[in-house]
């Protein structure tokens, strides 16, 4: 039991260790892969961030260069003699030439006179010239500002007459005919027009195709000039209600709106930088840089790059992480299941072994018991053979001796023949008894049962003995008392008469003088037969063993009679017992009683039976 408990404790410990190791390895792997994924995510984010910064820097440089080129072209145009001399034909060529040079960005070049009216446009013919000639644009800042400042001007967003949003760069045409400040006479303004759409396309083309980034452009006042995929907001003030409400609705989480506004404010102050902001639930790096032309911040460029790579990597790593965890969990579970199975098999095996051991023990025990019984039986058998041989050898010795002596002593012939006969009879009786005992002990005693009245059988036996007694000993009276006249039993007549004869001959043997009474009666479902004598009684010492073999032996008895009688009675389903009539006084005789099951214990026969003596 103790051993079992110890085993189950060991099992629990092993299971706990397996579980702990599985959990520990899972946690370690989870931590490790989380760390790795964060690291990779960080690297990827860093990459995105630096890429965005590089991109915004490069593109703003490209744009600035481009704008400066346009400004330079305007400057050369403003200095062109054709314009100073109002030579339209030649002016057309130089203007077209400028437009051709910067056509990837500029829409057209325009020459205004000193009053702000169109003198000439690039790429026009006589017909279109007539259409635009003299159009008054003197109210436009791109005219008024350079007119007043005599310097290059970069416009904010301007809705043109044709409703196309444009940016303008303008340069004053100044005649340097005299000397001193008063000699600088403004004769006109040259203007380069940049369509926002073209600008946008230009910017878009500058984007590194491998980066998933979008571009945004604000003018120095915060007006949206360009935004990838959001052209509807062009012209809106970035802090205006319309754009802010859009920001509110697309900001996840809400605080990212503030972050974005902070970032825009910072950028509009001319700073270079970047920030990570969640837009629509996804991390984006927004890098910003002002586009400075001639040392002035003209525009602000924004590159927004989504951390999709980082997100993808993280997702992949997370997936890997889950997969690893799952595999470890499965391995752990399999280990646990195997451990459980092994333990349960062990347990079952132990149970089976225990059961078998118990069975074996029981088998061994029963074998030992059987062996013991066999030994006892063997000993008893030996004892029986020993005593039986002794009993047989004594009459044999007598017969042998008398046979020898009879020749030498013819005078004692009669006496010796009688002795020989007596011993031969004794030998015969002994042989019969030994055969009976053998039958009883081998359980082959056969009963030939028949239905008869017990009193009739008793009468027959009693009559035989009465004759014998009267011949030899006149001092003993033999009575047969029939308390019930008819006592039906189903029994072996010969065997029962053997029992009654044996009990009667014993009584006669030990009663020299007095009365022997045989009684038969019905008691309940039994017939009782009692043989009562007034003889010497039974030695109290042998009463407990009275019905054993060779216990009660008389001179003429074999010592087997009572054993055989008991066996016969018991084979009929009855009992036999004996006792002295008085425990303290010798010579008051003994009583032997045996019972037999009744065939029909009917009331009528019981009450009809009258007590009577038959002497």
């Amino acid at each position: 039991m103790l051993k079992k408990e110890r085993i189950s404790k060991t099992n629990i410990v092993i299971l706990a260790v397996v579980a702990t190791v599985a959990v520990g390895v899972s946690i370690f792997l989870y931590q490790y892969s989380t760390f790795t994924s964060n690291k990779i995510g960080d690297i990827a984010s860093q990459e995105v961030r630096s890429n965005a910064r590089i991109e915004v820097h490069d593109i703003s440089q490209i744009l600035a260069n481009k704008l400066q080129t346009v400004a330079a072209l305007l400057q050369t145009l403003a200095e062109a003699p054709a314009l100073h001399n109002n030579e339209y034909k030649r002016a057309d060529i130089v203007i077209n030439n400028r437009q051709h040079s910067s056509g990837d960005l500029t829409d057209f070049y325009m020459w205004l006179d000193k009053n702000g009216k169109i003198n000439w446009l690039s790429n026009i013919n006589e017909t279109t010239y007539q259409k635009y000639k003299g159009t008054d644009l003197s109210y436009r800042p791109y005219f008024t500002i350079p007119k007043n400042t005599h310097a290059v001007y970069y416009s904010s967003l301007i809705e043109s007459n044709d409703k196309v949003p444009r940016l303008y760069i303008s340069y004053p045409v100044i005649n340097m005919t005299g000397s001193g400040t008063n000699t600088r006479t403004l004769t006109g303004v040259v203007v380069a027009s940049i369509r926002l759409e073209t600008l946008g396309n230009f910017l878009k083309n500058q984007l590194f195709p491998q980066f998933n980034s979008t571009i945004g452009l604000l003018d120095r006042n915060g007006i949206i000039l360009y935004a990838t995929g959001a052209q509807q907001y062009v012209g809106e003030y970035v802090f205006g209600d319309k754009f802010q409400s859009v920001l509110s609705s697309s900001s996840h989480p809400p605080e990212s709106k503030n972050l974005l506004n902070d970032l825009i404010s910072k950028s509009l102050q001319g700073k270079i930088g970047s920030g990570d902001i969640f837009i629509n639930g996804k991390m984006n790096t927004i890098a910003y840089q002002p586009v400075a032309v001639d040392g002035k911040n003209f525009l602000t460029l924004y590159i927004s790059a989504q951390h999709s790579l980082a997100t993808d990597v993280t997702a992949l790593i997370n997936q890997q992480e889950y997969f690893t965890t799952l595999i470890i969990a499965m391995l752990g579970a399999v280990a646990m299941i195997i451990a459980f199975l092994v333990f349960s098999w062990n347990k079952r095996l132990a149970t089976v072994v225990n059961t078998r051991t118990e069975e074996l023990k029981m088998a061994i025990d029963s074998l030992a018991t059987a062996n013991e019984q066999l030994k006892i039986h063997d000993k008893m058998q030996t004892e029986f053979i020993n005593i039986a041989s002794h009993e047989m050898k004594t009459p044999t010795q007598a017969i042998l001796g008398y046979s020898k002596l009879i020749q030498r002593h013819p005078e004692k012939r009669e006496e010796m023949i009688q002795a020989i006969s007596r011993n031969a009879t004794r030998l015969q009786r002994l042989t019969n008894d030994i055969l009976d005992v053998t039958r009883i002990e081998s359980r082959s005693l056969k009963l030939n049962r028949e239905k008869f009245n017990l009193n009739v059988l008793i009468s027959d036996v009693v009559d035989d003995y009465r004759n014998e007694i009267e011949k030899s000993n006149g001092r003993v009276k033999l009575l047969h008392e029939q308390l019930n006249q008819i006592i039906y039993v189903e029994a072996d007549k010969n065997r029962l008469s053997q029992v009654i004869s044996n009990l009667l001959s014993n009584a006669i043997k030990f009663t020299k003088e007095g009365t022997i009474t045989v009684e038969a009666e019905i008691k309940g479902s039994k017939a009782l037969v009692t043989i009562k004598d007034t003889g010497q009684g039974i030695d109290p010492e042998i009463i407990p063993r009275l019905f054993s073999k060779f216990v009660a032996k008389s001179e003429s008895g074999t010592g087997l009679g009572l054993f055989i009688s008991k066996s016969i009675v018991e084979a009929h389903g009855g009992r036999i017992w004996a006792g002295n009539n008085h425990s303290d006084v010798n010579g008051r005789g003994a009583t032997f009683t045996f019972s037999l099951p009744l065939l029909r214990p009917t009331e009528g026969e019981t009450t009809a039976g009258t007590a009577g003596a038959n002497t």
Partner: protein, 131 residues
């Protein structure tokens, strides 16, 4: 030759009759007892040349009688007679073991197994007395 005196104790009268007649026919004087207790009370030192004892007897067995007798006469020779199949061998062993006093051993060298031919019995008794 002196008439040798033999004491025969056996509870079976037929045996004592047959044995005593056979011995008397050969010139021995035989005293017979069927009751060992009576035999003991009657026993006197130097009365017998040989004692024949049955082993299995009621009240007192042959060995018990023997141990009493040698207390009275430690020189007397004794033969045991027994019809026991198995006890015969055991009895012999018993006398050769140290379970009885050393002087008693000297007296018992003779065991007679029943049934025995009367001539053989006489021969055995003569042999025993010749020592």
């Amino acid at each position: 030759m002196n008439t040798k005196k033999i004491l025969l104790v056996d509870d079976e009268p037929d045996i004592t009759i047959v044995f005593s007649m056979a011995l008397e026919d050969n010139g021995f004087k035989v005293d017979v007892f069927n009751d060992p207790l009576l035999a003991l009370t009657e026993f006197k030192k130097g009365s017998y040349d040989l004692i024949l004892l049955d082993y299995k007897m009621p009240n007192m067995n042959g060995f018990e009688l023997y141990t009493e007798i040698i207390k009275i006469d430690d020189k007397v020779k004794v033969c045991f007679i027994t019809a026991f199949e198995i006890y015969y061998e055991e009895l012999k062993k018993r006398f050769q073991s140290s379970s009885i006093s050393s002087y008693g051993k000297e007296n018992v060298k003779c065991f007679i197994s029943k049934p025995i031919e009367l001539d053989d019995l006489v021969t055995k008794v003569k042999e025993e007395l010749a020592y």
